[in-house]
């Protein structure tokens, strides 16, 4: 709760600081705020408490995911350097919107009531609609915002209709009441309940860009300014998956049979579409968009497994995925900025020679995303897969996922090959701030550390 309050206040302070002429102070200030929130959040560990008539509960699950999301924001903000350099007039608003949307994300991982889920999703989404269109003069950014907004609003309607039907069937918005009603009724109350449940599943699937509700993701990710794409594909996705798991575990565990077939179909489709779609991309950013679809698939696998290992697997996978994705987008920002907005693989040619640090960080990130051992991503996948094989009947799903992971290596390593094995077209060295380099090194080391000692995080939940 302190994190929600602090973030709201800090967001407002940021807006006021925006009145000042110099924008230089904004980044350090925002980082400081986030660090404070990160620290304050930790105080709630093992001190579960409920607020607002039990509509929000800050338990360890909430604290862990809040920690990851705040950390992710903290790690990706330093790469907004170029906004500062070109003295973007709206910088304060951007930072504030990020802080505000984090409030929504936190609500999504700590809700106990559908109302809070809805508000959390909306706080997060509305801020993202704005940020997607934040590059006002670029048509691609406009298009991304409009697409995201129209489709997002549409699926908000679907989600709400689901919530209402559940309410109609059970008479409550509280997860525990819903679970209680469902439990007495064998998990299937009536057709209205099942319909509502399925619409809820569909609504959240859209938010985490699971196929076949992923269509917005590649276009929106590509059009959105890279900094915010990075935020979208990490924080928004993590919040969505965490909310999804919480919803299923707390309210619909008894109705397992009603949503399981649908979810497993969505999962398989997401894995296939995400990975196969990424193979043919020539634009690196768009490839990352498809890759983020595929990672939603791996995360959903943990949900499909639905056992005592699911939450810890989701947590670890989220963290490893977030770290790698942030690096990928950060390096992309630097590269494309120097190469006049070129975001294709070719832009990375020869980066290994000109900028060894960027290239190395990128290589580790790609290894992590494709699940090569000694990086966090390997254990992310390992945990998810072992969670799934607890049920031996789901072995086939692991086979599919492993095959798709092999496809993944193909497109992730395309960029590594470009960096190390292609001659540089533009030999100029890319300039990076020392703080940003430090952050890159930090994330890379963290990724490898988690690959060597995953128990640091995997034991948390």
């Amino acid at each position: 709760m302190t994190s929600i309050i602090l973030l709201s206040i800090f967001g407002i302070i940021n807006l006021f600081v925006g009145f000042m002429k110099s924008k230089r102070i904004l980044l350090p200030l925002s980082l400081l705020f986030l660090a404070v929130v990160f620290g304050a959040n930790l105080f709630s560990w093992n001190e579960a408490q409920s607020y607002f008539n039990h509509m929000l509960t800050i338990d360890n699950y909430a604290v862990a995911f809040t920690g990851i999301m705040v950390l992710a924001t903290l790690l990706l903000l330093p790469f907004s350097q170029h906004y500062i350099e070109e003295a973007n007039e709206n910088l304060a608003e951007f930072y504030s919107l990020l802080l505000f949307s984090l409030v929504g994300a936190i609500m999504m991982v700590s809700y106990e009531n559908m109302l809070m889920l809805f508000i959390g999703i909306e706080i997060l989404s509305i801020a993202m609609y704005v940020l997607a269109g934040s590059d006002k003069r670029r048509l691609r950014s406009n298009e991304a915002a409009l697409k995201y907004f129209l489709m997002g609003a549409f699926f908000t309607g679907v989600l709400l209709f689901g919530i209402v039907l559940i309410y109609g069937a059970t008479g409550s918005f509280y997860l525990t009441d819903i679970a209680a009603t469902a439990a007495v009724n064998d998990g299937t109350v009536n057709a209205m309940f099942t319909l509502g449940l399925l619409l809820l599943v569909i609504g959240i699937s859209f938010k985490i860009s699971a196929a076949p509700f992923h269509f917005w993701a590649p276009d929106v990710y590509e059009g959105t300014p890279t900094l915010f794409t990075s935020y979208m594909s990490t924080v928004v996705k993590i919040a969505g998956v965490a909310a999804f798991y919480k919803l299923m575990a707390a309210a619909f565990a008894a109705s397992y049979a009603a949503w399981f077939p649908t979810l497993i179909a969505i999962t398989v489709l997401t894995l296939v579409v995400g990975n196969i779609g990424a193979v043919v991309q020539t634009n690196f950013k768009r490839m990352l968009a498809y890759s983020s679809v595929s990672h939603a698939g791996y995360l959903l696998m943990a949900l499909v497994a639905f056992n005592e290992r699911s939450d810890a697997s989701i947590l670890f996978y989220s963290l490893s995925y977030a770290l790698a994705t942030i690096v990928a987008f950060a390096v992309l920002q630097y590269v494309s900025e120097q190469r006049n907005g070129d975001e294709t693989y070719a832009a990375f040619n020869g980066l290994g020679k000109t900028n060894p640090l960027l290239a190395f960080a990128m290589t580790v990130a790609m290894c992590s995303l494709s699940g090569i051992p000694l990086t966090a991503g390997f254990f992310g996948k390992l945990f998810v897969f072992t969670a799934v094989v607890q049920d031996a009947r789901l072995m086939w799903l692991v086979v599919v996922a492993v095959l798709m992971a092999a496809v993944g290596i193909y497109y992730y390593f395309k960029v590594v090959i470009a960096m190390y094995m292609q001659p540089a077209a533009d030999a100029a060295k890319i300039r990076i701030g020392s703080f940003a380099s430090f952050m890159l090194i930090f994330i890379t080391v963290f990724t490898i550390l988690l690959g060597i000692a995953p128990a640091l995080v995997s034991d948390l939940l």
Partner: protein
């Protein structure tokens, strides 16, 4: 696998064990970070010394192990992974097999590092090279020392990655990049099998650590249960990829694009034997699945023969060695398939000696020839490169199975076990052995005998390699000469040192299937006959090679030049030769070429490329669905919703 005693609570010991993989890793970090600033000498020193110290520690561990009654033990460091019921410790298992592999990997690794310091001294990327080489050592050591399948997998992936990096080391050449990619992809296919195998092991036994898994497995009754066949087949697919067995073998010859020391270290002596190590390590599981063993034996024999056939017509000296590696690996799998695990390990060890020797010798030749690898441009190098020649000759004698060199003992023992098991497979093995002797001597004769066939100016540049390169050659040559005495057959009245040493590994397996470990089914007379047969075919092959390439000085045809029949006839002095040529040599050559084209290029590459193309094609199709129009997206999504609801309410 025998009973594992509790970890010996000895801090020094734990530190020593940890240092073995850690030192190369430190070398990797130092060389990787400082490769621009360090001088070439320093880079070489860091690279070699770390591995040398690891080797010395391994020797100490080995002696200590012997002194303490040869009891296997685990060294636990920390709780690596814990998630629910899955607990995996970061711990090493020290037993007979581990120590043997350790000695082999670090010992031969050190020699090759030393050699590389000379071989790569002109290359500006030497720092990068040594850091990759050290990283490879680190991964390989993790692979052999780990006490559970996940650690093995981590090392497994690591060596694959390093092999990829090192094959593509001279990355200016696109072909080399393609070779690197091919190696990586083929290895991945195998790795996926391995990974699935690990999951199945976890489901079945509830653990992935060797002591627990094997203890559980030894309690199983009934052979050939579907789950055991599943586990072992998945593991074997993993081994196929890493150890280049049919159908995943084509990457290995292509991998010769890397620098020669890499070929020696990774693609001959150590990494490719990882698959065999894995099977021997899991012998308990494989014993439980005789069907899988049968498959392994057949695939091994087929690989041995096929690769030997292709080896007959290769003109690139490294390609010859590459195909011979594939063929020898086939032998090892053949031995595994007939449950002669110790014999297989024996051959692994001997092969590591002589194949590293041959590769390094070839490297020395290539070094002297300024990177020429085509044997048709060589010849008569005997005088210019005396040390290389003698050591290469020893290596060739060893691989051909001429007594008393290393290969004779191991191959003979291996074939004797195969004979016991299946006469047809034995026949295949002997045939492959005949071809091996032939093409190896063909390579030897073409390279070192006859007249020099390269350009004149190159002739003056020929020079023996520096001492830093010849010393490893000499050491390996000595090992290849005397190494075989580790496993003198029983017939000669000596004890089988290696076999006795490794025997405790099979305690569980023996209790499950005692029949498999019965020895002495072959009478002494028969054993002598078998020996005589294998030596006989080898000598015959050498004589034929001698006549073809020394007496007649035949040089393989250029790719684009066809020998005119008249021209040919003039040079044929004996009609019998001509007959022999057209009846035997030509068809064999033709067949060999055809096999190479058909199996290697069309079938295997075709399947690999075909799958790739299918993925890309479906990706393209999928792309059109992403049309960019909001209306279309919404329509598809609404239809999906409708479909989901329809399926849920009206079908299920």
């Amino acid at each position: 696998m025998q009973e594992i005693v509790m970890p010996r609570m000895n801090q020094d010991m734990a530190l020593l064990c940890l240092l073995i993989p850690l030192l190369p890793f430190i070398g990797f970090l130092l060389n990787g970070l400082g490769n621009r600033k360090f001088s070439k000498g320093l880079v070489g020193f860091i690279g070699c010394s770390t591995v040398l110290v690891s080797f010395l520690i391994s020797i100490y561990l080995f002696l200590d192990f012997k002194a303490n009654g040869s009891q296997a033990y685990t060294v636990d460091y920390y709780n690596w992974i814990s998630a629910g019921s899955l607990r995996i410790g970061f711990s090493f298992l020290i037993d007979q097999l581990t120590l043997l592999m350790l000695l082999m990997v670090t010992g031969i690794g050190f020699l090759i590092h030393l050699y590389s310091a000379g071989y790569m001294s002109h290359d500006e990327g030497i720092g990068k090279f040594f850091s990759f080489l050290n990283l490879f050592m680190f991964s390989m050591l993790l692979l052999v020392m780990g006490s559970n399948y996940v650690m093995m997998f981590v090392g497994w992936e690591g060596v694959g990655l390093c092999s990829y990096l090192l094959i593509g080391f001279w990355n200016k050449n696109t072909n080399y990049n393609n070779a690197a990619k091919k190696a990586f992809i083929m290895n991945r296919i195998g790795d996926l099998g391995f990974l699935l195998g690990i999951f199945l092991i976890f489901i079945t036994f509830g653990s992935v650590s060797y002591p627990q898994v094997f203890a559980e497995a030894s309690k199983l009754t009934g052979l050939d249960t579907p789950v055991m066949i599943g586990i072992t087949m998945f593991l074997f697919i993993g081994a196929m990829g890493k150890s280049a067995q049919i159908p995943l073998f084509t990457w290995l010859p292509d991998a010769m694009a890397g620098p020669t020391p890499v070929s020696a270290l990774i693609h001959a002596a150590t990494m490719v034997t990882a698959g065999i190590y894995m099977v021997i390590r899991s012998n308990v599981l494989f014993i439980l699945a005789p069907t899988t063993l049968e498959v392994i034996a057949i695939i091994g024999a087929a690989t041995a023969l096929l690769a030997a056939t292709i080896g007959l017509v290769q003109n690139d000296i490294k390609k010859v060695l590459a195909y011979s590696t594939v063929s020898q690996l086939g032998y090892m799998f053949l031995a595994l398939g007939v449950m002669a695990f110790s014999s297989s390990m024996f051959h692994v060890l001997m092969h590591a000696f002589f194949k590293a020797l041959l590769f390094l010798g070839a490297g020395s030749v290539i070094h002297a020839m300024s990177n020429e690898q085509d044997m048709r441009r060589m010849g008569g190098l005997r005088k210019a490169l005396p040390v290389t020649f003698i050591t290469f000759l020893i290596g060739t004698l060893a691989i051909s199975g001429i007594p008393p060199f290393a290969g004779f003992f191991s191959k003979d023992e291996l074939l004797a076990h195969v004979f016991e098991h299946n006469k047809i497979l034995w026949g295949v093995g002997v045939l492959a052995s005949f071809m091996t002797a032939f093409y190896m001597f063909r390579a030897l004769f073409l390279t070192f005998f006859g007249k020099f066939r390269g350009p004149e100016e190159q002739k003056h540049h020929l020079h023996e390699s520096p001492a830093v390169m010849t010393v490893p050659l000499i050491v390996l040559a000595i090992l290849s000469t005397i190494g075989g005495f580790l496993g003198i057959p029983e017939v000669f009245g000596a004890e089988h040192v290696l076999g006795d040493y490794l025997a405790p590994l099979y305690t569980y397996a023996r209790s499950i299937n005692p029949a498999a470990f019965e020895t002495g089914a072959v009478s002494h007379e028969l054993e002598f006959i078998l020996m005589a047969v294998s030596v006989g075919v080898a000598v015959l092959a050498i004589i034929i090679a001698y006549f073809m390439y020394i007496k007649k000085e035949e040089v393989p045809a250029e790719e684009n030049a066809r020998l005119a029949p008249v021209h040919n006839l003039l040079y044929q002095k004996y009609y019998i030769d001509e007959l022999y040529n057209s009846l035997i040599v030509r068809p064999v050559m033709w067949l060999s070429n055809a096999v190479h084209r058909l199996v290697d290029v069309i079938v295997v590459d075709g399947i690999v490329n075909g799958v790739g193309r299918m993925v890309i094609l479906s990706g393209r199709t999928l792309r059109y669905a992403q049309s960019g129009a909001i209306g279309f997206y919404l329509l598809v999504m609404v239809c999906s919703i409708a479909l989901i609801l329809f399926l849920n309410f009206f079908i299920g």
